[in-house]
Structure formats: C-alpha cells, structure tokens
C-alpha cells in the first residue's frame, strides 16, 4: 500500500436495511432493494459503511439481518423499535446524530407498511435532498455526489447532488453479492435504544393478504413471427384514453365512473 495523504476524511455512508420477505414463501430474507443498496455502498471507494436497521430482533428478522452481515460486515446497528412503532422519528434522530454524508435505502419495504415514503419523509425531516431510483454512485468530490438515476425503459439520467443526501436504490442497480454464512454468523448486532413513538393509525389497521392484481390479457392476432415479436416488444400504448381539460370535478368524476363501468371494475 502506498501512503496517501488525503485532506478529505473517508466517506461515511449509512445503509438503511430492512427485513425482507420472499414473495413465494414469505420467509425473512435480505430485502432485495436494500441488499442492492448495501452492494452499492460496498462498491464506493474509501467509504466507511454502517448498516442500520430499526425494528425488533426475533427469529425471522435475525436470519434476514445476518444476511446483510454476510455481505462482509462486522456489525449492524439495531435501533430497537417495537412492532408497530413509527420508526421515522427514531431513525431521523439517529441519522441526525451520526450525520453520515450519504444515506442509502431501498425504495419500498417488503413487509409492514411498505409505502415507500420513508426516504422522502426522512429527507423532509432532516432537510436533506433525496434522489430516488439510483443505480450507481459515479463519484464523490467536494461534497457533491454524481449519481446515475434509472428511468423507465433502461434510460439513465446523471444527477449531481450536494451531500448529505438520501438516495433510494432502484431494482436495476447491480445485484447484491452472495451472503456468506461465516461472516453472517460472526457479525455483531449492536443494539441501540431508540425513542419510541407508537403509530396509532397502524394499530387500528386490518392487514390481509393482497390479491393478485388482475392483469389484462393481451390478445395478439399475429400472422407471423415478426408480428408477434413486434407485439411483444412494442411500447405499452395508452391507446383509447382521453385527456379531459377544463372540466368541473363532477364531470371528471363522471368520466372516471363511466370508464370504470366500461372496464368492468365497477358493476
């Protein structure tokens, strides 16, 4: 190693990790997007990466959290929060104290509320900028990060954001590395007590299994393979929609009502 004199301290990065849920079996696992976030952080040169989870430790969540440790970490900070608590204030407080330069999250949790609002609410509280759908951090210089943001259809947009910032990771970001059993077993879960603010609304909610969203069958009348390919590769056209301008709310509502009736959503 050649000695290097740097006037900037190493980059402090905190990755917020949650307990994921396998879509078929419901077993606890690394949340896919969070794991991609960890991978993104691991790929940053000179970064000091902290893992932070707010929640409780139980049998299901421990496997998932150790899954992140298995990506090559010695420790994970566990901000203790009971089931059903609003983790936002506690997270904001912890991040404010630790003041990392970059916070990486997934876009949406795989269990619990899963609203996808956490990065925005955190950014609002901390007064930091937030960028969604990030697939790469291309460089960090003089307190400004160059990010690559994923847009639909594989398009990418390069953004510059002043640090500290919160970025959420898109599913198109590089796949997470394998979680190894050895480091996962050895890694420490460091408990930190956090301020608890109970989410009263949550307590009143009823949770039920989501039904599969009905999917419109695409009927392709294709005579040749070329037509079939074109149909498969074609852009999803809106087709048949209408743009209503300068209408009263009643007219708008009536139009939506009519559409729902036509589509058979309302009977």
């Amino acid at each position: 190693m050649r000695p290097e004199i740097r006037d900037t301290p190493s980059l402090e990065v905190t990755v917020l990790v949650s307990v994921g849920r396998h879509p078929l079996t419901g077993r606890g696992r690394r949340a896919d997007q969070d794991a991609r976030g960890v991978e993104l952080a691991r790929g940053l040169p000179e970064a000091e990466v902290q893992l932070l989870h707010a929640g409780t430790l139980n049998e299901g969540s421990e496997t998932a959290l150790r899954g992140y440790l298995g990506m090559g970490f010695d420790a994970l900070t566990l901000l203790e929060q009971p089931e059903g608590a609003d983790i936002l204030p506690a997270l904001a407080e912890t991040l404010d104290e630790a003041s990392p330069q970059l916070v990486i999250t997934g876009e949406c949790a795989e269990r619990g509320e899963g609203s996808g609002l956490l990065p925005y609410l955190l950014a609002e509280r901390l007064g930091w900028p937030t960028v969604s759908g990030v697939v790469a951090v291309e460089g960090i210089a003089a307190g400004v990060a160059t990010l690559l943001q994923a847009l639909p259809r594989g398009q990418r947009r390069r953004l510059e954001v002043r640090l500290p910032a919160i970025v959420s990771v898109d599913g198109a970001a590089p796949a997470p590395r394998q979680s190894a059993y050895g480091p996962a077993r050895r890694g420490q879960l460091a408990f930190v007590p956090g301020a608890v603010s109970l989410d009263d609304d949550w307590a009143g909610w009823q949770v039920q299994r989501a039904r599969k969203r009905p999917k419109r069958l695409k009927i392709v009348k294709a005579a040749s393979a070329r037509d079939r390919f074109k149909a498969a590769a074609a852009k999803a056209e809106g087709g048949g929609g209408q743009v209503l301008e300068d209408v009263t709310p009643e007219q708008g509502a009536a139009a939506i009502f009519k559409l729902l009736k036509d589509e058979g959503v309302l009977r």
Partner: protein
C-alpha cells in the same frame, strides 16, 4: 574393505531416512487433528495394501506385476541386506534369498524402464524418469555385493577400483530408495503411502465390497470450528498425508471428465498443488500435465505458490490454486475410484469449496442464486414449494400426511419441478401401480435433499434442509425409500446418517428389478433398436449399483451394448457437483463427450437412471441417440402379469398416465 564399508553405508542411509521421516511427519502434523485408530490402522495396513490397493493396481495387469516384482523385491532385498551386509550374517540361505530378491527387483525395474521409454501423457516426467535407473542401480549393486558373500565369487574378487565403483552405484541406489523415500523424490510414495493406508480418513472403505462415499459433516454448532479449508494446514493431518502419498501415475487425470473437457482441473496436479502447499514453495517443480485452460492447452506451471498457513485460493490474484479449478469438479469420483493410493480428491475439493462459499461468499455462476433459492424455497429452482405435486394433479398420489404409514416412500426429488423428469416420475408411478405396490409420497412436505447445496460447499444450507427432512420423515412409518434420483439416494442413504437419519434407500431400478424377480411385473418383448446404458456416478461409483439397471434392461429383452467406459469406469454426464450451475468454461462440453461414447456403440437409445444425466444428455445438440429413463422403458413395456392364469383379459392393468 566392503565388510566395513557396507554396514556404515546401510546404517547411515537408514539413519538419514529416519531423520527425513521425522521431518516429513512434522509437515503432515501441521494439519488439524483427526481421530485415527493408530495401532488398529497399522495392523490393518498390510491387508489394505495387499488386497485393497492391489485390487486397484491390478486393473493394469502389466503394471501390477511390475510393481509386485519391484516393490516386493525391494522390501525383501532391503530387509535381507540389513541382515546380510549390515549385520554381516551371510550364512546359510539368507544370502541366496537376497540374491533372488534383488534379481526379482531388477526384472521389475526392466519393466519400469520399458514403461518410461515412451511415457504416456498422464505420467509425470522429471525425477520420475530417473526412477528405473535408480531401481537398477540398487538391485544390481546389491546383487553384485552379495555374490562374494554367498561364495559365488572370491572375497577379494576384482580390484579396489571395482569395489569403489560398486559402492558408488550402491550409494546412488540407497540414496534414491532409502534416503529419498523420506526426504522427497519418487520413492516418497512408498513411505507416505504405507502410512496413508494405515491412517486413512475413511477406514470403512477398505474390505471386499465396502465403500464410503458420503461427505463428512462440518461442525456448525461450534463457532470456533473452521468452515472448510482455507490453508493447507486446515486439512486434517491424515488428509495431508494422503496428498503426500500421490505416486503421480495420472490415472485420475486419464479419467477426469473436467480434464478431458479442457476445464482448468487436473486431479493429479491439484493433489501436487496441495503437496506444494504443505511443504511451502512454488509448483515449478511439477513435471506432469498442468491444469488445462480454455483454448490455451494448459495453465503455465510455476506461477502458483503457497505455504502451509497461507491461503489456497486468493481473494484476488494468484495463490496455490485458482478457484475455477475447484469449481470444475463434477464430484463424479472417477479419480477416487481409479486412485491406487486411495486418495480422496472429492473430499478435498469440497472442503476447499466450503471455505469459498461459507467464508468468501464466492460461489461462481448461478451458485449464489441457487443457494438463495434453496434457503428461501427449499428447491434450487426457486419454485413455489406448494407446487411440488402439480405434475401429479391427476394421479391421486397417496400422501404420507394422510396415510401415515406405507411400505414404500417415493422420494420425488427436485425433478418434480422439471417437465422432463415429470415424465419419468409419471412412468414410475405407473409401474408402481401395475405392481400394486403400497406407496406414498411426502408431497409438499418434501424438500430438496441438500445434495447441490452440499456439493457447492454450503454445508449450512445442506444441514438445515437435511435436519428438516429428517424431522418430517420421523413422523411417518415406512419400510424403505425409493427414488428416481441417485443424488437423493446418495444423500438420504449415505449422508443423512451422520445427522441422525438412517434409512433403507434404493434406486427405482433396484426396486423394479426386485418387483420383476418377484413376478409382479411382466414386459412385452423389446421391439426397438440397439440400446446402451449410461451409469450415473451417484448410482454406480457412489452406491455400487451397477447390476440392477442392467437386470431390468435384460428383463425388458434388451441386450445392452456397453460403452467403452461403463460400470465403475463410467464417464460422468457433467451434471453432478453443481457443475452445470457454476458452469466453468472448457474447450468441450462433458455431455457431448459422453454422447460421443454413446454414438460409438451404435445405439439408437441410451437408457439412464438419473434426472441430471437425462437433462445433460438430452441437452446435447443433434444427439445421436434418444435418452429415456429406465422407468419410462419399463412403463412402456408393461403388460398384465401372467399370474391371472387363462383368463387373460384385454383390459390393461395399468391406467395410462403419461
């Protein structure tokens, strides 16, 4: 003059050999401790050498006779030389015996020399090329110095020049044969090999018909226990001893499917890499064929180096071995079956893979995805575990959860998710129904047996799957487990025992053979063309079942056209050990080579008994033969059993389910 010089020479050589032995033992003892019955092992050693080892060597008759003459002659000559020349007791018959022994050794060494005239590619060159000369030097000089001792020549025959020349040749012979045996050199194999046989890691594999093929479990409960092998010193000491016993005959190299496919693995080189590691240094001294590399012929020798306590596989850069060498192995055990020194290559490879997966998290190819699937869904494909029985939706298979006890538990294996294998399973169900077998399946309670996870080095996932399967099986009563998947057969039968699950497991071909012998199945005569049979590694070499599938084919009226490599020498299909998952590139594909073997027999159909083999052989583009599972052939040939007497109705006994 010789009377004083000879004892000095002999005892000096023995003394130096003793020092060398002590140094060598210290090298082996760098390994981790291993429970070995020292005295019982030493007592069993002659039998292991004379019976088990010789059984393997005798597959090459010329070589085995050569070895008997040379090694037998040497042991006898050395022992007698100590008595006759070392202690000066030449009276009576001893001197004559010594003459006979050294003459036998000389004849043997002539054959060794012949073998080395145009050595085949699998043989190591380098120091091994001088071995026949050294053998001759020893045998001839001992013969010559014994002639005066028995009185065939006068004591003061020849001049002192002759005596000095003779002594010089003897020094060469003693140097190679006695000093070199423990200080390194070709004869090291005799010293290390004898002790390796005595302290073998799998003493249960010795003896007629015995085999020991199950991998040994890692201790996961002890957080201090290492997860696999990182450095040469992480092997147990008797594994290191085993590596050191390698005689570099290259039989493993000749049978290794990965080597033949040009994948970067040569079992002989790998074992020599371990020897380099245990002694420390670089592989520059290796004189055999190197690890192949794609399109380049071979990976250059001399670039890799290691130490007993340094890493075997570097995270980046080069160390002792490259990771793709370890991941090329299909765990087919052809090398182990063929090794005359009884070295356990597959154990070593899996030990090193365990470290790469469990500590580095570096399973190549689709390995990580498959392991994640196994953790989350209990099957490698990531399918919904609730859909395991979808292929049998119309078959009304009895579930263990309903019937609680049965004669035969049909273990489906992960082939239940594969459309090709579902045809095999449906055919086998038809056979079971035709023979009116009382059977049931676990259905959605079944999980992957853990075979792939274990071969990919993920012992934690293997043990998790195994323990849950054992817990499920313990709820039910059954006589035996029958499976169409030799991999499940091997794991359930040979590897669950260590974790507390002992079952009577058999392959479906064994079961069909039994049903046929019991008169519960009858077959229409075979009308198809020529048929050959491919032995699955996990059925044959792992479990010794070579006869039952052939008996079934015979019962079907099929005369099997055997491939050149069949039975215990069967060539792997390339589907074992997670090799299709890690997918290390080579110059050729292993299943293509196997299909060429099939083509050489002229068979139009190749009978198989394993879902992996089916998938690999069917995946061959423009395959020369159709691939059918034995169960499918049997199901197609089913006719009503003649037990009903004259009232042969036209009604088919079995309902068509395919």
């Amino acid at each position: 003059m010789l009377d004083t010089l000879l004892p000095i020479l002999i005892f000096a050589a023995l003394g130096l050999a003793a020092i060398g032995a002590w140094r060598r033992v210290r090298l082996w003892r760098q390994g981790r401790p291993s429970k070995v019955a020292i005295l019982r092992g030493l007592a069993a050693m002659p039998r292991r050498y004379l019976v088990d080892l010789h059984h393997v060597v005798a597959r090459d008759k010329v070589m085995s006779n050569t070895h008997v003459a040379t090694a037998g002659g040497f042991v006898a000559a050395m022992g007698l030389a100590i008595v006759v020349h070392g202690l000066g007791l030449a009276e009576g018959v001893l001197g004559w015996l010594l003459l006979a022994a050294s003459a036998a050794m000389f004849v043997g060494s002539l054959f060794v020399a012949r073998r080395r005239r145009n050595p085949s590619a699998r043989l190591s060159k380098g120091p091994w090329m001088r071995l026949p000369k050294s053998l001759m030097a020893f045998s001839l000089s001992v013969f010559a110095i014994t002639l005066p001792a028995v009185g065939l020549l006068p004591e003061d025959f020849g001049s002192w020049v002759v005596a000095v020349a003779l002594v010089a040749v003897l020094v060469w012979g003693l140097g190679e044969m006695v000093f070199g045996m423990t200080w390194g050199g070709p004869m090291k194999h005799a010293f290390a090999g004898a002790l390796h046989l005595a302290f073998h890691r799998r003493p249960e594999r010795f003896g007629e018909g015995n085999r020991s093929t199950g991998l040994k479990a890692l201790d996961l409960d002890n957080p201090k226990a290492p997860l696999g092998v990182e450095t040469p010193s992480d092997f147990t000491w008797n594994q290191l001893l085993g590596f050191d016993a390698c005689v570099q005959c290259g039989r493993c190299e000749a049978v290794c499917p990965a080597f033949a496919a040009g994948q970067p693995l040569n079992p002989k080189k790998l074992i020599q890499d371990m020897v380099v590691g245990l002694a420390g240094g670089s592989d520059a001294g290796y004189a055999g064929s190197p690890h192949p590399s794609q399109g380049l012929g071979g990976k250059p020798v001399g670039e890799h180096h290691g130490t007993p306590h340094g890493p075997i596989v570097a995270r980046d850069g080069k160390a002792l071995v490259d990771a793709d060498t370890l991941w090329s192995c299909t765990t087919c055990r052809a090398c182990v079956e063929e090794c005359p020194m009884m070295i356990e290559h597959v154990d070593a490879i899996v030990d090193m893979r365990r470290f790469l997966t469990l500590e580095h998290g570096n399973t190549p190819g689709k390995g990580a995805e498959v392991l994640d699937n196994l953790i989350a869904t209990d099957n490698p494909g990531g399918f919904d575990p609730g859909s395991r029985l979808h292929w049998a939706a119309d078959l009304n298979l009895p579930l263990m959860a309903d019937v609680k006890q049965t004669d035969v538990l049909l273990w489906l294996g992960d082939g239940a998710f594969d459309m090709r294998n579902q045809r095999t399973l449906r055919a086998f169900v038809k056979v079971l129904r035709a023979a009116e077998v009382d059977f049931a399946v676990l259905g959605n309670e079944e999980r992957d047996s853990g075979d792939v996870a274990r071969r990919l080095g993920d012992e934690a996932t293997f043990q998790s799957l195994a323990k849950r399967n054992i817990a499920t099986l313990s709820q039910y009563r059954f006589q035996r487990i029958v499976t169409c998947d030799p991999h499940s057969f091997h794991v359930l039968g040979n590897e669950y025992g260590e974790l507390g699950g002992a079952y009577d497991v058999c392959h479906h071909s064994t079961f069909i053979a039994e049903l046929y012998d019991a008169g519960r199945l009858a077959f229409a005569p075979w009308k198809g063309g020529n048929v050959t049979y491919h032995d699955p590694c996990y059925l044959g070499r792992y479990n010794g079942e070579y006869d039952a599938p052939r008996n079934v084919l015979k019962a079907l009226g099929i005369e099997v056209k055997e491939m050149a490599r069949s039975g215990f020498r069967s060539r792997c299909c390339g589907g074992g050990g997670g090799a299709p998952i890690t997918d290390i590139p080579g110059e050729r594909r292993i299943p293509d080579m196997r299909m060429n073997d099939v083509k050489e027999t002229g068979a139009e159909l190749v009978a198989v008994g394993c879902p992996q083999c089916t998938a690999m052989l069917e995946g061959v583009v423009d395959g020369p033969a159709e691939v059918r599972d034995i169960a499918e052939l049997v199901a197609d040939a089913l006719v009503e059993t003649p037990a009903d007497g004259e009232t042969q109705s036209q009604r088919p006994l079995a309902v068509e389910v395919v």
